[in-house]
């Protein structure tokens, strides 16, 4: 029998082709090569440094020498529960909660419109409108808001022209959220937080709503549900993964931010500012680490509760 070389198999090829052949024969090798760099980055550099910081929270600082004592202790965590520190945690969590809730309420109609009705050019306008604020510098936006909210700012000016200044004055006279002007009040901090994080809420809700076929809402109405009932029993449960995803952003970003409350708001601290001050100014790294642990723990609890509530069932 003679050996016949079938003409339709090409055996030629450079080093690139041979490499492709090897990867084709060993698909796992390809996956390993693709995953190795991000795995190293995430695993060693990112998570590693995070754990190195968090480990510090189990040490304490010697208040005479100002040096870190490398002995396991929970005393740093005990400091967190002191009223002055616990106030900071409580204030930040309440703020993050209010910001997330308000963002969700404002985002839902916008996202619904974008998902159901915006087509063609309108869709482009929508994405541009949502994304454009993200292109400009974070600091520029915050200082712009300072100009809007300041006592001599355009908001006060506009209300004066409308003879509605008394509304603002009455609002600023409220305890806790009020203040001398909006730019130095907790309400001002809240307004800017909501503005800055809003795109992070709109986009996931919109993505979730886009996956809800219109026939599903029609079916609900067909079966006797009023629009309010359809919202409660069909639209909201199906959009919930998006709301949860968005609120993970708004909640965690608010928990960790230290710039907005520093520029707009009162002198009362938020967690981010406390971490910044304890680490940078006071040199109390264990306490800074313990503060940094708080948002992580809260987010863990939050995700666990969201899962228990079935927020991810429709995924």
């Amino acid at each position: 029998m003679t050996q016949v070389q079938p003409a339709h198999f090409t055996s030629a090829g450079g080093i690139g082709t041979r490499l492709s052949d090897i990867l084709w024969r060993h698909p796992r090798l390809l996956i390993a090569l693709l995953l190795l760099p991000p795995a190293l980055w995430l695993g060693v550099i990112y998570l590693g440094s995070l754990f190195a910081l968090l480990a510090q929270s189990f040490f304490s600082i010697d208040h005479f020498t100002g040096l870190v004592k490398y002995e396991f202790t929970l005393s740093t965590y005990a400091q967190l529960i002191r009223p002055s520190n616990f106030d900071i945690i409580l204030r930040t969590v309440v703020m993050a909660f209010c910001v997330s809730l308000t963002s969700a309420v404002i985002s839902f109609p916008i996202a619904y419109f974008a998902a159901r009705y915006a087509r063609g050019a309108w869709r482009a306008v929508f994405y541009l409108g949502i994304m454009m604020p993200l292109w400009s510098s974070y600091l520029v936006k915050i200082y712009a808001w300072k100009l809007i909210l300041a006592k001599e700012g355009i908001l006060t000016w506009a209300l004066q022209k409308l003879h509605l200044e008394w509304v603002l004055d009455a609002f600023l006279a409220l305890p806790v959220i009020g203040g001398n002007s909006l730019s130095v009040s907790t309400a001002g901090t809240f307004i800017v937080f909501v503005y800055v994080w809003l795109p992070f809420m709109i986009l996931p809700i919109q993505a979730a709503l886009e996956r809800v076929p219109p026939s599903m809402l029609e079916a609900s109405g067909d079966l006797g549900a009023t629009p309010a009932q359809t919202f409660r029993h069909v639209l909201l449960p199906l959009a919930l993964p998006g709301v949860v995803a968005g609120s993970i952003f708004t909640f965690s970003l608010t928990l960790g931010d230290y710039i907005i409350p520093q520029i707009i708001g009162t002198s009362r601290l938020f967690i981010g500012q406390a971490v910044y001050q304890h680490q940078g100014i006071a040199g109390n790294i264990p306490l800074a680490a313990a503060f940094a642990m708080v948002p992580i723990a809260i987010m863990g609890l939050y995700l666990w509760a969201a899962k228990r509530m079935g927020a991810f069932d429709a995924l």
Binding site: S215, E218, A219, S220, D222, D313
Partner: protein
């Protein structure tokens, strides 16, 4: 009593006349099919009955009550959607009981009703599954149970069998038909499949370009089409143009003749050339060209078969040639 009445109903989307001055009358307890190609307005008509669309003009009545100002949730009609539209976050039982939950019925009561509805569509025991864990045919049954649990007076079905494979589709056709007989509810059924419409419906309305072209019993539609479109669309009947009919029968009107009624032989009324043969199992389909008019003949399997390119005579019994009332032939 009429279950559904349309009086000159139109639904225009800008310049597109999806439904254009349609009048129809569906009797109570009837199995009514709306048949037509896609974009012919049949689905829009169904959506007008359900209330998902509002008419641009005209008057719609359901059991004599004008409904154009009633939203879907105030109409006693239910719909089986083409994509089933089952709620993915609810299990089968809660999907079926949805209408009863909305109506405020207690848990035990509505679960019992859901149980009965599921038994009716032969899906007992699937209560706790999620829609994503069901096959296409099972989802279809859940959608049916969900639409029937509220005991609507009219059930609307929007191409409900379109996504099923042939075997299942035939089985569901029979089940739907017997379900309708058993419940006595008016069924309005939208389809683009003429076989489905003919085999299930008591009456068929054929749609084209937003208008009803012909309404009648399946036999009427099949054997006595009034216009060439119906003859061609319903079971691909042969359409003889008016000029040819004028030579043969002395009347200048288009005519139709069923493929299975054409007789091929040496003699015949007209001459034609065989352009193709296809084997269909029960019969062989012969494509013919009679001086520019395309004809199709169905030959029983035991009949002698011509070969492509042969010249044959095409004949028929005079009774089988059906003269149409309107529309100029090609």
């Amino acid at each position: 009593m009429s279950a559904v009445t349309f009086n000159d109903v139109s639904r225009h989307f800008g310049a597109i006349k999806a439904v254009d001055a349609v009048s129809l009358d569906i009797a109570e307890g009837e199995f009514f099919a709306m048949l037509g190609p896609s974009g012919s307005g049949k689905t829009t008509c169904l959506r007008l009955i359900a209330g998902f669309e509002r008419p641009t003009a005209g008057d719609i009545r359901i059991f004599a009550q004008p409904v154009q100002d009633l939203p879907p949730y105030k109409r006693n009609v239910n719909t089986v959607f083409q994509d089933y539209a089952l709620f993915p976050h609810l299990n089968v039982r809660d999907n079926v009981a949805y209408a009863l939950m909305i109506a405020g019925q207690g848990r035990r009561e509505r679960y019992r009703a859901a149980q009965e509805a599921l038994e009716m569509v032969q899906l007992a025991g699937y209560d706790l599954r999620k829609p994503s864990e069901l096959s296409g045919g099972q989802r279809q049954r859940v959608a049916l149970a969900r639409a029937l649990v509220n005991k609507p007076r009219v059930l609307l079905l929007d191409e409900p069998l379109g996504a099923l494979d042939l075997k299942l589709r035939e089985q569901m056709q029979e089940e739907l038909k017997s379900l309708q007989r058993q419940l006595g509810i008016t069924f309005v059924f939208v389809t683009h499949d003429q076989g489905e419409a003919l085999s299930m419906a008591d009456r068929v309305a054929v749609f084209d370009h937003g208008k009803i072209i012909q309404t009648g019993t399946p036999e009427d539609i099949y054997f006595r089409p009034e216009v060439p479109f119906v003859a061609d669309f319903v079971g691909s009947s042969n359409v003889l143009p008016a000029a040819l009919v004028a030579q043969l029968a002395g009347e200048s009107r288009p005519a139709s003749i069923r493929p299975e009624r054409l007789i091929l032989g040496a003699e015949g009324r007209i001459r034609a050339r065989v352009t193709g043969l296809s084997f269909l199992g029960l019969a062989t389909r012969v494509s013919l060209d009679a001086q520019g008019t395309r004809l199709t003949a169905l030959l029983p399997q035991d009949a002698p078969r011509p070969a492509p390119g042969d010249e044959v005579g095409v004949g028929w019994n005079a009774d089988d040639l059906h003269l149409m009332t309107a529309g100029a032939g090609a």
